[in-house]
């Protein structure tokens, strides 16, 4: 009984593993296509799918308690907020680069910090 259960389990894991490797190869292949911004999108989308498989099946979020799911969702939401709200700035900030003179530092007397290297 338990053995059968374990065998089923192992089979499911093997299928997930095969899917992960297939997705990895797909993502590798996509990098050689000329997709412009699509390269990044496809690469990330596949990475998200792979992560979802790992989290959902390997990490057993599928059968986890509500508390654990809330923890996972909160973490993901916070990460997206960090990236999202920072992107609001970067997406709408006009870029006006200015010539930047390399700083010429006087060497430190205290020795707290190495002398500015050649840059």
């Amino acid at each position: 009984m338990k053995h059968a259960c374990l065998r089923d389990h192992a089979r499911a894991l093997a299928v997930a593993w095969a899917a992960l490797l297939a997705l990895m190869l797909a993502s590798l292949g996509s990098a050689y296509l000329r997709l412009g911004a699509g390269n990044a999108a496809v690469g990330l989308a596949i990475a998200v799918i792979k992560s979802a498989i790992v989290v959902w099946l390997f990490m057993r979020l599928r059968t986890s308690s509500a508390t654990v799911r809330i923890v996972a969702a909160t973490a993901l939401a916070t990460l997206l907020l960090l990236i999202g709200l920072a992107s609001v700035d970067y997406a709408t900030r006009p870029v006006e680069p200015a010539a930047y003179e390399l700083p010429r530092q006087t060497p430190s007397l205290a020795g707290a910090r190495p002398v500015q290297g050649a840059r």
Binding site: V95, E96, P97, A98, A99, Y100, E101, P103, R104, T106, P107, L109
Partner: protein, 327 residues
Amino acid sequence: MSGIVDLASDAGLSWLGGASSVAPRYDLLFAAMVLLCGTVALGVLVAIVAFSIRYRAGAGRGDAAAGRRTRAIEIAWTVTPLVIFIGLFVWAAHDFVALYRPPADALPVYVVAKQWMWKLQHRNGRREINELHVPLGQPVRLLMTSQDAIHSFFVPAFRLKQDVVPGRYTGLWFTATKLGEFRLFCAEYCGTEHSQMLGRIVVLPPAEYARWLGSGSEQPSLAQYGFARFRALGCSGCHDPASTVHAPSLEGLLGRTVHLQDGRTLVADENYVRDSILVPGKDVVAGFAPVMPSFAGQVSEEDIQALVAYLRSTGAPAPGDPQGARR
């Protein structure tokens, strides 16, 4: 928009000393906020004091059952602030957005901030250090960048501030509405002498401004520039009288007789200063450790001349403040 400006002047807020077209709108919003928040704070305070007296233990007015049904009240004091806050946001945002829309005819001025000075350049190439002359009633647009850390261009009388960031330009525009001199502060902490990174804005009548702008392609005096380099290169970090590093004071150095560690004496002249900067180990002053690093490759000939000019100015009988703008 001008209606708001008029309203502000009508409200009698000009005594707050605002000196730009932005200031009256700022003062009005500020006054409104003080009024609103003051009322709320006072309300809370009065409530706490009144309850504390009326319902003090021993007064026997306590009622445990009071205040159990709270939902309506809670919703009321959730929604009311929400509405007020959105109103405040819109008002403040409206004024803020205007700061991002400089008029097309604004006079451009280029600003470079570095530790710890402001270098400004007008359209016709006239340069200033720690001083900015602008005409009354005419929009001026600053294009600013930094050569090192982040600085911030802050003119309290104009109610304006903008960080100056290395590697990119940031902008700031204003129209001065009062004649006179106004303080310029660096408001973003930028290192040792952050609090000395001061300057002034001089607002002139347009005709006088035109004369001023035309009269001078002359640079700021060499001594003035030298003082700025004295600080920017970090000399003042050790040689300032207030410094914790044990280094000789350089005030009135030129012409002074210097006693060296190996027993020689010499009279400090320009060449001595140059040697001390480039080959500091050569003539070490008696009583001081030879800790000064060489600045060879870091200072230009122009810098050395300027530093000498500055040192000479400190030796004059009545040196005066080399930075006219300070204090």
